[in-house]
């Protein structure tokens, strides 16, 4: 607890906007401005602006860049075109998840990785310590700010300020351009289930861009959104959060992330262990559930059935857009089917829940 909390370039803007600042993954971040429920609804109905500059960015270049990423990550970077983004994982040799990340292919031999804030230092040691030769790594986290613009009105707002053709930009693709005069990488990605963009800009441009987006988006109903609503938005989509739902003790298959594991591409760290799990069958699965009884599931609560523990809740809250108490957690594979009746132990009392299809709320990300 001795390390001072880090601040993003927008710290002063958050304080001035009346944000409640909290520690998160070693950073001092806004958890809410107007209120979590209102901010959540702003993103679902209009457009919300997030400061996610605490996320880390690494650049890797050189003739060995592809080979090193093929070794480090579970997804197939050879299948990634320039201008495309890929969701992926770093795993350890035991198949545990070191981090989840996105990979942008900037050029044939140049990539940018976006990693979780709390893992920047661990990931940096991991990628520079385990890669192949012929790859040069640069940690650009401090000089890079990241603003997410998310919601049904995000496209119109970003299009108004950008010189790039953002309307034809497909999901998980990006363009290099300028937004409000600031050089930016405009990525059609997000963590909310709504259409939107993540804008990577130089740290020194962040505050001006932030103000410009709030100013120009006023008629569209734009508002700043904190980490509190970011969490309820991603929970309704059943997007996993590192440190809550996935970590070194969980493998990609049980977490439902098998779609980003590509053993056919060749060897990578964790491949053998993951393939052993695949062959044997997973013992537990990450499922989405809704409460039948009135109670709020929370991270760490026990999941029980027939009087014994069968799993654990990894994330849970009130889902504002579904108006239900919802959660995700690991349960024994035989109990993971949709409709499965479970109970969540809340303050020692089992409260009925059932496994449901996810996402809890329909996704509105850009489809074509």
């Amino acid at each position: 607890m001795s390390e001072p909390l880090r601040r993003t370039p927008l710290y002063a803007a958050h304080v001035a906007a009346g944000a409640r600042m909290v520690p998160f993954g070693g950073w001092e971040m806004p958890v809410q401005y107007a209120g979590i429920l209102e901010e959540h609804r702003t993103v679902r109905r209009a457009v919300g602006l997030f400061d996610v500059s605490h996320m880390g960015e690494f650049e890797v270049t050189g003739a060995g860049a592809v080979a090193t990423l093929q070794t480090l990550t579970t997804n197939d970077v050879a299948a990634l075109e320039v201008g495309q983004v890929q969701y992926s994982l770093l795993c350890d040799p035991a198949g545990g998840i070191v981090d989840d990340l996105t990979v942008h292919r900037l050029a044939g031999d140049r990539f940018m990785l976006t990693v979780n804030a709390s893992n920047i230092d661990t990931d940096w040691r991991w990628v520079t310590g385990h890669g192949e030769s012929g790859a040069r790594w640069r940690n650009i986290s401090n000089e890079t700010a990241l603003l997410a613009v998310q919601g049904p009105r995000a496209e119109a707002l970003v299009a108004e300020l950008a010189d790039a053709d953002v309307k034809s930009l497909r999901y998980y693709h990006f363009a290099a351009g300028a937004v409000a005069g600031a050089r930016a990488l405009l990525s059609r990605t997000g963590y909310t289930g709504e259409d939107g963009f993540e804008l990577y800009v130089a740290a020194g441009e962040a505050e001006r861009l932030w103000r410009e987006l709030l100013d120009r988006g006023r008629a569209a109903g734009v508002a700043p959104v904190g980490l509190g609503a970011r969490d309820t938005l991603r929970l309704e989509m059943r997007y996993v959060l590192y440190g809550n739902d996935i970590d070194l003790t969980t493998n990609p298959l049980e977490a439902g992330l098998g779609w980003v594991v590509k053993p056919a591409k060749g060897d990578f760290i964790g491949r053998d262990a993951i393939e052993k799990v695949r062959a044997a069958g997973v013992r537990r699965r990450l499922v989405g559930f809704e409460m039948v009884d009135r109670a709020v599931p929370r991270h760490g609560y026990r999941i029980v059935a027939d009087g014994r523990q069968v799993g654990v809740v990894t994330s849970g809250s009130y889902g504002p857009s579904v108006d239900k108490y919802i959660g995700i957690g690991y349960v024994e594979a035989s109990l993971a089917g949709v409709g499965s009746q479970l109970a969540i132990e809340v303050r020692g009392v089992p409260q009925a829940a059932r496994v449901v299809k996810t996402p809890f709320h329909p996704s509105h990300v850009k489809k074509s």
């Binding site: 958890v31 809410q32 429920l37 809250s317 009130y318 108490y325």
Partner: protein, 130 residues
Amino acid sequence: MANVPAELRYTREHEWARAEGGRVRVGITAYAQEQLGDIVFVELPKTGAKVTRMQGFGVVESVKAVSDLFAPVSGEVVEINAELPKKPELVNTDPYGQGWMLVIRMANPKDVDGLMSAADYEKLTAGGGH
């Protein structure tokens, strides 16, 4: 500065108590609901339950946090706010009115004298609470 009605008594745990004869109406303060943020769940005891001064009687949950509720006085729960389970947001919008939680018939009417005055509670929260 959050609203602290002068006619009410308070606990260090941010409950308010309104003396109504031998009974006390209880809720959480404007300061408490502000600190908690959007309240999405309230769990109250049943009428007839016995509560003990400064022991937990229920739970209030915001999107992010779970907080225990503490009884300002000992006695029997004679009324609960049946609206709250359906509309927990009343605690945010009207903490001293429609957001009330329960009414306790005091076992020892002197309990209420041990509670904090509005002025003392204001001092407590001015220091950032706890």
